[in-house]
Symmetry: C2
Subunit: 246 residues, 2 copies
């Protein structure tokens, strides 16, 4: 016996993969926190969504915002990210991720990488990212609930959304070098995602590379190409790129 509700389906790799994509491809999310001074009232607001190299969601926040004051007091938060489209909003996949938020301020050694990755994804954040009241929160996923549409609900562990690798720093360096290479080779993206069923043009910009895949942006749209297998170091990452776009 488990206390898992009967409405949940068995979580398989396909569900995990779709859940990660649905989370990853959103520009913004709804984030719920515990409202400061409310004795436990939930409070939900809109946030821009970025991702750390380990796959954890990252948000940029002003200290003036309610959700920032909340997270600095009670680290628990819940993110809702999902696709929208025509017809019933409940027919489109979305994911709720229960997270623990950790502040990453401008003096934190992790800050420069987080800032660079966030700005590639959200270039307009340049307007305010360096104001003194802004900071990041790294949202470590504890567990998640993925709803792929009516009657298709799955429970996920926090690790299902994370990239487990001992080489995150090495990959971060490799990411910087690869991004430079891609900038001088505009067609590379087209080859990179040639396997994807959706039409792609070289206009897609690479916003991030990690050991599991590549994030791309075109205007307001985001997409992600997942590698056939996770890479474990810079050499494997380079080899994966050579293999994918030659």
């Amino acid at each position: 016996m488990t206390d898992k509700p009967k409405v949940l389906r068995e979580t398989d790799d396909e569900a995990r993969k779709l859940a990660r994509l649905v989370l990853r491809e959103q520009r913004s999310a709804a984030m719920a926190v515990v409202e400061p001074g409310s004795d436990g009232f939930p409070f939900v607001s809109r946030v821009l969504l970025g991702f750390d190299l380990d796959g954890a969601p990252v948000i940029l926040a002003s200290r003036l915002a309610t959700h920032t004051q909340a997270l600095l007091t009670d680290t628990r938060c819940s993110l809702l990210a999902g696709r929208m489209g025509k017809g019933d909003p409940l027919a489109h996949p979305r994911i709720t991720v229960q997270c623990e938020g950790e502040p990453v301020t401008q003096t934190d050694p992790r800050y420069p990488l987080m800032r660079a990755r966030f700005l590639r994804r959200h270039p307009k954040a340049q307007l305010y990212i360096d104001l003194p009241d802004f900071l990041f929160f790294h949202l470590a996923p504890m567990r998640a609930s993925f709803n792929a549409g009516f009657g298709r609900a799955y429970a996920l562990a926090g690790n299902d959304l994370l990239i487990t690798s001992s080489a995150l720093e090495e990959i971060a360096t490799a990411e910087r070098l690869l991004l430079d290479e891609l900038r001088s080779n505009a067609d590379a993206v087209k080859h990179l995602i040639a396997d994807d069923p959706e039409p792609v043009t070289p206009a897609w910009q690479v916003t991030g590379i990690d050991s599991e895949g590549v994030d791309l942006a075109l205007g307001d749209a985001f997409r992600r190409v997942v590698f056939p297998r996770q890479v474990e170091n810079a050499a494997e990452l380079h080899a994966m790129f050579v293999k994918l776009y030659r």
Copy 2:
């Protein structure tokens, strides 16, 4: 001295009106509740949004859903509803409403009206609304936070989102009769919203009438026409319609 953060603007009638429209015109919202058995962790999920005659948000929920179990234990919830569009998601207006949820089950005297209004707004909910595990929650707004875009934040009282009238039942009866009349006069809608700057066609369907205005739907889009002044009884409502669409 007040403890109001300096980032808040003075709330005026224009802000209240826009806040009500932004809430009212959404198909769905993110609703945060206190996760059951979590010792206070927030939990946010997607809900279809309807409205009661008093202007309070209404959601339809299955007893199998986490948010239903949550609201049956702790009535406190937070709704995020907002416009989306091109560019930065934080540039578009959205509202956070702190609510107390009250269950309205299928045997409740308020249920038939709530069901009829919800189905006019969300016809596809017909597929599951009568399943035995479904119920409504009337979400009474306690207070709200309206963000009209960068640097334009306002604090609202719960009453700013409600329609205060002693004639809600009389208006409900008048709504039913008016809806019948409108069904036999397809052009009425066009006249009704002739003052609106956006182009309108008779294809817009009236989904609800209350003492403050009219809700309309066309495909996935919702809009609302607000009366020049609130009506207080059925006679005034009829007179308002005669005035508006002749």
